[in-house]
């Protein structure tokens, strides 16, 4: 923990903030500091002005850092522009929102949230949140990956079904015709006498089968 504090001092190498301000914060939707990747994180920041003059809050910004080394930045989030003047002795609440990337690995990260303010003469930056947080798995009601996996599965089942269905009647058909050929005296139809068509594309399947039968009989 001591190491973390020293690194914090290195990161916030800005003007020393006055001790006349105090901060508070709350993550209304994530009180346990578990943030789902890809979803909006909202932080409410309380700013108390104990100085003897009005202060102007200009920006709030956040970054995701390496949990062991806070000087390694993983993601920087959009600066929120505020421009809110806080009278002396007053208190203001500010809402800042950011979205951790949905491609983040679910694990521990360091989160820094800083606030910039000015007193008219000088700018100050203070990091009021400096802690490790958990990025959890992306929460989705409808997942494209699993949708396409199901679609692929259905395709396989359908394809196998189609092949099986396509083969079954053919085998039956073949058996039936061969039986018929063996046991019954065949009556020649117009199709079967159309021998002159054999070998051409116009030859019907019936003709071909008849020719086979004829060859067998010979």
């Amino acid at each position: 923990d001591d190491v973390e504090i020293t690194t914090e001092d290195e990161v916030v190498a800005q003007a020393t903030p006055t001790s006349d301000v105090s901060f508070s914060y709350i993550f209304p939707d994530n009180p346990d500091k578990n943030f789902a990747a890809g979803s909006v994180v909202e932080v409410l920041v309380g700013f108390t002005n104990n100085a003897d003059k009005a202060l102007n809050i200009t920006h709030i910004f956040a970054s995701l850092n390496h949990p062991q080394d806070f000087s390694v930045f993983i993601q920087n989030y959009t600066r929120g522009d505020f421009g809110i003047a806080v009278e002396k002795g007053h208190h203001a609440t500010l809402a800042y929102r950011f979205v951790p990337s949905e491609y983040l690995e679910p694990r521990e990260f360091g989160l820094l949230i800083s606030l910039e303010y000015q007193d008219g003469a000088q700018n100050f930056t203070q990091t009021f949140f400096n802690s490790t947080i958990n990025i959890t798995e992306k929460e989705t009601s409808f997942d494209m990956d699993s949708f396409f996996l199901i679609l692929l599965g259905l395709g396989f089942v359908g394809g196998i079904g189609y092949i099986v269905y396509g083969k079954m009647p053919k085998q039956k058909k073949a058996r039936v015709t061969s039986k018929v050929n063996k046991n019954f005296v065949r009556v020649e139809t117009e199709d079967e006498t159309a021998e002159w068509l054999s070998g051409t594309s116009a030859a019907s399947t019936k003709v071909k089968s008849v020719q086979k039968v004829v060859k067998k009989n010979k």
């Binding site: 508070s24 709350i26 309380g46 199709d191």
Partner: protein, 163 residues
């Protein structure tokens, strides 16, 4: 006690559609807060129709690590951009303190109310367009199919059947 005050607009405002607004107060301090009150005037003008809830709140105490909430529902009557103010919350940090702490709420500086037609355009299911698409698809499939069935019925082995 230290309170955080959030004026929250959850959904995108649309003309003629109910717009819920939440006023949420969190106590993030270690002690209770007393005599908490606020009055909001952003939605109490002629441009908004009151539906339910209240735009003001008054509580005697709020325990640490807890929250209280007031909901307000209005219907915007006109589209456009409305500026929002930071609602002021007054409370006493301890029961004995004579001084009221003044806190301003976190909110958006402006709110865009979408017109009904823009909203419909954005969220429409495009039923007409889809029906037209399916009719055109059906035509493109049915025409060759009918020709194929006609030939199957009336021709055999490429020769017209004789009836």
């Amino acid at each position: 006690a230290e309170l955080l005050f959030h004026k929250k607009i959850v959904e995108g405002p649309v003309v003629g559609k109910e717009l819920p607004i939440q006023f949420i107060i969190y106590n993030v301090g270690s002690e209770s807060a007393y005599d908490i009150s606020f009055i909001d005037n952003d939605f109490s003008n002629a441009e908004f129709e009151f539906v339910s809830g209240s735009s003001e709140g008054k509580w005697e105490t709020l325990a640490p690590n807890s929250q209280i909430q007031t909901n307000l529902t209005v219907i915007p009557k006109k589209s456009g951009i409305y500026s929002l103010t930071s609602t002021v919350l007054n409370y006493r940090k301890t029961q004995t303190s004579s001084e009221f702490t003044v806190s301003s709420a976190a909110s958006y500086s402006g709110m865009y109310v979408e017109s009904q037609s823009d909203y419909d355009k954005r969220t429409s299911l495009l039923v007409k367009e889809w029906i037209t698409f399916f009719i055109l698809c059906a035509g493109a499939i049915a025409l060759p199919y009918s020709i194929s069935t006609y030939y199957k019925k009336n021709y055999e082995n490429g020769i017209k059947k004789q009836n």
